[in-house]
Symmetry: D2
Subunit: 435 residues, 4 copies
């Protein structure tokens, strides 16, 4: 049985700032910052994203995000290792062990990104698979590639050496102390337009390898959009799955997330967290040669955080922590809001139309009720919610009058007659605790 | 707020046996049979299906199911009335009132089928809308038709007379004593390939009209397949919605229902029941000029009933009740199995592959646990379920040994080691109560 | 066998200026203008476009282009007649006879627009079909409608009364003296996304009725885009078919026409003319309540005329003739360019890329060679054509040096070395006669 | 300018019998047979099909058609060479030169099959490109693969070394004496569902390399179905392109070819031959481990040959020549029928419906007229063709009476009244010369 976390994971991920280029010192610096400024709020995971095994990543940035046929660190069994130049503590075959230990020492959990499959190089060189009599060419599927990254071949279905390969890498990660695996090119293998969940058997193999490893490892699947017809499979074999393609600091993408949360709201459960992707806030884009502050306005950032929380998405900070400004840091510390991502709270969309969206979020024991009014238009508008519509979802009898406190701004009001009305800024949100 | 029934509806529907031709006497006979043989099990609704307003329905059967530009009973406000030849108690403008009274008198509820929209004839003749200054041509949309039935035009969005029209018909139905409305050509308006939920505004108008009527009326939407992307809308505005196109006594259709139940399992809730369609059992097809016994084998019928129950679908008997054979009657009386459709039980698919499917179904207070093993192949096979896989769904700690009773056959066994194995006939099911 | 015209038709059509509102006096005025200013160049057809049978067309313009369930002039056989208010000469059942006579008297040909099918009103009222024992409800298909016009039902396939109906209307048109029928909602019945050529049997019925009528009538099919997979059927049963959806004075639409001409270039033949639609030039849009001069620049207009000519499309002027400005009139008189639409000339695309397109056009006896360089970009550019590439299409040996005369501007030059280079304005064209 | 052959190529291809396994001796034996039995009829090309460079092809037949990551003969510039074990005359770097010489010596032309792109192995090993300073990894596109063959990567667009690579292989083929290149995975790169002509730039590069080579080489593109929207591009840069996916001895595939010929009939021209694929007749399938006689009946074979001829497709015999039976050999010698593929004849479909198809084929100088009646049903039927329908295509005035000779069977008859009727066997054809 897969690992069942009581809440969606919260943490930091290196991608939005570093792309392929992050190194050990940077990882440590972010972990330390999290330890100093963001402890006891729920932030917990430190995740090293894509191509930690690549030599000179980013050196051909003007042409390629991922250098084709480039050099990579690999052991004799075709298992990728951290690039020792960037991750010196991995020298001597220690992999991410020392770095994981350091992160654990701060009280946090350690995660890594992987591409599904086996290195193409290992297949072309017929390398031995650890713990198997088979070689890489026997398990690699030359017709199964990633459309945007040139490193791997997918693993064939039903070949014994394939499970052995996954056992060999996941076992190694478990030994290193990895707590979180973000596996890419697997949730939606978008090159295969007619069969976008073409690697479902690899999801099963990876989950089986995790269970064999004996370690509680979160399995996170990328990229999206996940396929709603496969919801059952994600729920059985994974802990998180991306519900959109890569999310960035762009209002259209944020607006579109309301459609996706609407679609996936019935699928949030213990150990199962549809994933709205990283929070592109603070300082972003250095590894992409486009370093900048987030393009999101403050209102948009509150909208994003609120939606992710009432829906129940994982929260992974994308911005570089050591460069966080005061305001951004302050919203990441709002524990009384962030706690809504816990599985103890249920979130449901009450209404969505061209102009606005309304979500309800509640807990049964002890009773708590929240209402979020999101303005999807560019300018401020008054949004009214008939609270009787909320009853249907939250099994909640509306009292004649109640108190509503807007949490982001700390303003309270009395609501009479069963309808709450508020003026909400363009692209913004008001989040009420109702009592 | 829509009506929230605690369980999916159970009852009888005239379509599978009578097609368009059913009359008052036949409706009464089926209601009486239900009263005599199927009381106190949960069977409750008596539903008059399509074209009760048509004159001489079925008289051009060799060419058309629905006679184009045929005669129909209509009042001066363009509201369709029961064909007085077939429903004599409706004479004098009493509509279905007397028949509903009769059904209520037996302790049952009364339902009718409608096509969305307003009669084409009313639009071409510019008839007045009751309670409105507008005429039918002003609210009818000439570009919104049903692809398979020639009677109606859809109602335009945002025209005041449109809501008035729906208020006028639903108000009339409420006065008649209608408890259940099966609205057709609305769940999936399949003619409009690029916009199959083109009548979503009509769903809203009908639900609003129901709430205005003040009567608890179940709103059932047809035909399917419902669109999973619109799940939220169905859940907000309707009580039932068809998850496949018309279901008949054909194994391929039954097998396919496993895919659909997999897809919709997270959407069963109080007042919200994804609908697997009528049960085509017993005597069928007279109105279609192809009277016959069901083509389903007994094993297939048990499979169907079990799936509908563990999933939580409404149960509507399609066969003519007065002609039920002993065996079919006997399975419709298995209250200890049929009770699983209640909202108190949660059903989840545990596994599905090419060969078989496994569903778990459970209740928390007091604890009950069921496991259904479905054989999707043509011949008998042994199916094994690792009960630990069930834990994930049912939050259930598996004891070292437990008792499993197969409910359809009444056979018990002891299960050791956390895995239940049973031999299941081709297309058949075994349903275990685990204790 | 269908009518085989030696050249694509040239003429004037009422739609772009009048929409549904044109009347007899306006038709006469345009015919008279054509007679006075555009004779002997090839302009020949005067076409009355959509809804000449409707009462008060355009009177609900703010809501509808076509009034739903509106009044129309019809005879007792369900055959639509000219609205006698707008076409007074049609009084007494004379239809378009007198107007056709007038147009013929000027030396021109007379055309009308029709919607495929039979009036919905005729079907709902079970009207008699002329020359048949059947009534309209027996031949009308209630599931076959036009998605954008509410007037008609399609005709069923294989019902004898259906051919009788088409014979009855086409026979009447032939008696009136109609030379050209533009039948709409038939080339692409776009409501039926999965079967957009759903009315192919009606094309056959109409062509058969034309042949029975004994009159040489051009059959023009609308709207586009025509389906390339059905090219053979259009070629067999029609004379013209639209290769795009409605064309208006918009650069993106004009640019897109290069893709469509590329696709259809092999299908221009005697009697078969893929149709690029009307020329929206001069004064446009009055009937749409948006009267204006064309939005096309002069360069764009030359591009359009040149493409239509070298490709071999019909040429129908859309603008109101009586309001033509000098410059527009002057380009419509360039007989030495317009003659290229004749079937004696073959046109072929030589090259097309993101930036420009090149077409070759030639005649064998006596030899004539033309080359058109089209600039698809917004700003002026030099375009070079390697004349050897033209050889492949035109079977033409390139001389060492040749004379190139740009026809629109009347400028000549000598080309050496087998490559012609010219500076072409943004969105513009240079058309060379090579000698 | 591309090579313009006056007729579609005729010849023999190794694939249908040998799959990947053919060797030099077998090629010679087939060429010799063609020389002895099929000379002076038009048969001319001898084509070595797929994977002539592979070691031990077919040795893992039970698992793979093409061994993944298998050994192949390659020179130091990443250019594939014939497997010297199978093609001993290629030893010492002579490639296919000696074999081509042998074939030329028999009076025939020599062709080879290639996969588009550069060997994956060359890219992973960063091999030098002949005549360029670039290496294979710089021109290979790791995201461009063939979905069914594991050997190659596509070439990037706009990288100078890419053209150099194609120049280097095509130049080598020209030196060998290659007359015909069948390039695979290029006409329809079907893995890329949203962009199936993704390698159009490689078609251009290959044609450019052919022109640079100075040799008249036929360029044949596979596999199909070719995209009708790209017809213009195929016509400009290639000589043949497949209009269906792989064709085999199966009636459904043959029946479907009528749809494809209907679609492509306007695209047959000098140097441009839409390709119906090899003729799977005689002895087939040895290399696939399923050696057999063709599954086509004799009637079907005549249907196939007639359609290919009147349409104007290339004719490539797929069966092993040395094992041809008498009857099959006899139909391949019917020069008076096979000549119809010449460009001097124009073929057009006259009619096609569910039951039968009619094609007309004619020549102007001197006049010849043919009519083919194809029975698409399983049993014999009478087919009638109104000869006036043919007039439209063939510009032919039908005489009052004419003589019709059925060519396959040598039977004559007199046709009166402009309509020819014949009884045609199921799946069969009658081909008439009309005089």
């Amino acid at each position: 049985m897969k690992f069942r976390m009581k809440s969606a994971p919260m943490g930091w991920n290196s991608y939005d700032y570093y792309d392929t280029t992050v190194n050990e010192q940077q990882i440590r610096a972010n972990a330390e910052y999290m330890s100093e400024h963001l402890k006891d709020i729920g932030w917990e995971y430190i995740v090293v994203d894509i191509q930690w095994y690549a030599k000179h990543p980013g050196s051909m940035r003007e042409k390629y995000q991922y250098i084709p046929f480039g050099e990579m660190e690999m052991d004799t069994f075709g298992r990728l290792q951290p690039d020792v130049e960037r991750f010196p503590s991995s020298a001597g075959g220690k992999g991410f062990g020392p770095l994981a230990d350091y992160v654990h020492g701060l009280g946090f959990k350690f995660g890594i990104h992987i591409m599904r499959g086996i290195p193409r190089k290992a297949a072309h060189e017929h390398m031995q698979i650890s713990g198997s009599s088979m070689t890489a060419d026997m398990v690699a599927d030359p017709a199964s590639i990633c459309g945007w990254n040139p490193d791997m071949y997918g693993i064939r279905k039903g070949v014994s050496g394939g499970q052995a390969y996954y056992d060999s890498i996941i076992g190694m990660y478990a030994e290193w102390g990895v707590d979180f695996i973000k596996c890419d090119d697997i949730c939606n293998t978008n090159l295969y337009v007619d069969n976008p969940y073409s690697a479902s058997h690899e999801v099963e193999m990876i989950q089986r390898a995790i269970e064999k490893s004996g370690r509680d490892i979160v399995l996170s699947l990328s990229p999206g959009p996940a396929l709603i017809e496969k919801a059952w499979h994600y729920e059985k074999y994974a802990n998180m799955w991306r519900i959109t393609d890569d999310f960035w600091d762009n209002w259209e993408l944020l607006k579109n997330m309301f459609d996706r949360c609407e679609l996936w709201q019935n699928h949030v459960a213990e150990g199962s967290y549809p994933d709205c992707d990283m929070l592109p806030i603070g300082r972003l884009g250095k590894g992409f040669d486009e370093e900048r502050n987030t393009n999101f306005t403050r209102e948009e950032q509150l909208t994003m955080l609120t939606l992710w929380c009432v829906f129940g998405s994982p929260l992974m900070i994308g911005g570089e922590l050591t460069k966080l400004d005061e305001w951004t840091l302050s919203i990441l510390k709002r524990k009384e809001i962030l706690k809504l991502i816990s599985n103890a709270y249920v979130g449901r969309q009450v209404e969505k139309n061209e102009k606005y969206a309304v979500w309800s979020c509640w807990k049964e024991q002890p009773k708590e009720r929240y209402l979020a009014l999101f303005n999807l238009e560019d300018v401020s508008q008054e949004i009214t919610c008939d609270l009787h519509e909320v009853e249907q979802f939250a099994e909640w009898e509306i009292p004649k009058s109640l108190h509503a406190e807007e949490l982001w701004r700390g303003e309270g009001m009395i609501v009479h007659g069963g309808a709450l009305t508020a003026s909400v800024p363009g692209h913004g949100v008001k989040l009420f605790l109702l009592q």
